[in-house]
Symmetry: C2
Subunit: 322 residues, 2 copies
């Protein structure tokens, strides 16, 4: 036998609205095998599990069989860590309550843990990433939405109901001017710091200025944060203002969040972090300006070092070690 | 021997800027003996400890000697749970770092834990009060300042530095109109929902209206939240508006805080809670209006049932069981 460690692998499943990506991962966070199935093709969840097991079979064989696999972790929308179920996920084909952990445990004969993707990302950072060794940090995922995973004393906070850590829906603007959010309220952090939030900021910044900008050449309904990054690279003033506003809002919110759990670090993940210093510089400045005196200088503001395309599977897999 | 339980008592010390109150407490939260010394009379902390032990001696004898006492808990400003020290407390006579836990452990020969008074209050509610049996709740103390103690998975959150849970310094108004706070920033929750914050709201409400009010008969610099309560009891419209504004701000903030740890309950403690429904009704309404849909209807908003004058000692003593 090549491996002397008992059960040296875990399975990670990143369950997206469209595709489900599976990876078999070792303790260093190397993906040894990977496979994908459609999430939408199986209206009956039993068929989805059957298709998953079939797709996984060659991957499992590649690492010497299921006896080498310690457990499985699943990152999925509206996943409840306590029950192992997905509950009323708007973006998935299955309605109501889906018993994800129980179904996969039965099908594979290994322990299975589920949680939402931001919590999975936090476990991933703690296991393979920049938060290795940290006991207190807050993961902020900046994607289509804004998600968060809060780690206290080395454990993700799941709260009383299994759904804690929804900082994307922390309201940062309670005035009537707060942007309408998909959650039905106004002014949530997500409305400003997600991909769609930044696109909205681009349109606002362009509308409120007469300054020339490369961003004016793009259909306002299709403009993205990546366009702003490209323009910022060329010194475009309004593109820089977009990142400045976004970074300042996020840094100010994080300074407030510090009063909760005084984390050692915030770890930012997702497409928006590709903007690098355009985002991080104003973020750091606003954080330092807004942090309570007693907490000054003790919090790191870090960008995830996990490979973006692999991070979701790695994050999910990390749950398999727990 | 009367008690069959081994070591059935704990010592609680509520260390205030002026007085230090000691109590010997049983497992039901009954104070068996109590004593007080001056906090300010001993510029050398060693003398303070000596005086404390002397004052405690008859109380300890009353419960059958130190062998009946399991531990001691101290609630004190700027107390660090991890180190057992008080660090740079502005309102105490001792400068710099004071080794509270180590000094009392040496003097009494029992384990000693320290934390700030809001965290102590949270442990007190969990041990003797309305949060008994709860694993997830947030304590909000409404006194001269606003403090908080956050309990997750049955444990107080001390964070990376021992000072977590400072929700009184969560900024709820980031606009230039945010009220200046003692911490040097603007718009902290404490500036609105503490005793001094409510007094400020009284002055604002009076200044912005021509409505007659009983509160106009009181020196604006001396008016208190208790005056507003008395006026509210007589149906005074502006007094009711003061509580309405205060309750709504607090309820809205708590709805936001829920995104963090989805607590089962918020427990409110302190003088302001004597306003009862004048405060709690708008608080509940604002909470329900502002809570994220997914979290609706699952959080209790409770008022502490601990006797106000005993609560601080009880809270501190509860740490002695841990």
């Amino acid at each position: 036998m090549e491996n002397t460690v008992e059960k040296p692998y875990v399975i990670g499943l990143d369950m997206g609205g469209t595709n489900s990506v599976f990876g078999i991962v070792d303790q260093r966070g190397t993906i040894k095998a990977q496979t994908v199935i459609s999430t939408t093709a199986y209206p009956d969840f039993k068929d989805y599990v059957k298709a998953s097991v079939e797709a996984l079979k060659p991957c499992i064989d590649l690492v010497g069989g299921i006896q080498n696999i310690r457990g499985m972790g699943v990152g999925a929308p509206n996943a409840n860590f306590y029950t192992g179920n997905i509950e009323n996920a708007a973006n998935l084909v299955w309605q109501g309550c889906v018993e994800v952990a129980a179904s996969f445990e039965e099908a594979l004969g290994i322990p299975v843990r589920v949680t939402n993707d931001a919590n999975a990302a936090a476990v991933g950072e703690m296991t393979y990433g920049v938060a290795r060794g940290m006991k207190h940090f807050i993961m902020i995922t900046l994607g289509t939405g804004v998600g968060s995973g809060i780690v206290i004393d080395g454990k993700v906070v799941y709260g009383s109901d299994g759904f804690a850590g929804e900082l994307g829906h922390f309201v940062i603007d309670h005035t009537p001017a707060g942007r309408p959010c998909g959650c039905g309220r106004k002014g949530c952090l997500e409305c400003y710091c997600s991909a769609t939030g930044v696109a909205r900021t681009i349109r606002e910044v362009l509308a409120n200025s007469n300054e020339p900008s490369l961003l004016r050449d793009i259909d306002p309904e299709k403009v993205t944060s990546y366009d702003a990054f490209v323009a910022a690279e060329k010194g475009d003033k309004l593109a820089l203002e977009v990142f400045d506003r976004t970074g300042r809002l996020l840094g100010t919110a994080c300074a407030d969040f510090t009063t909760f759990s005084t984390p050692e670090a915030f770890v930012f993940f997702g497409g928006l972090t590709k903007a690098g210093e355009y985002l991080m510089k104003p973020l750091r400045e606003a954080f330092e300006q807004n942090i309570l005196r007693n907490f000054k200088g003790q919090t790191k503001l870090l960008v995830s070092a996990l490979n973006g395309s692999e991070a979701a599977v790695l994050g999910a897999s990390a749950l398999g070690w727990e």
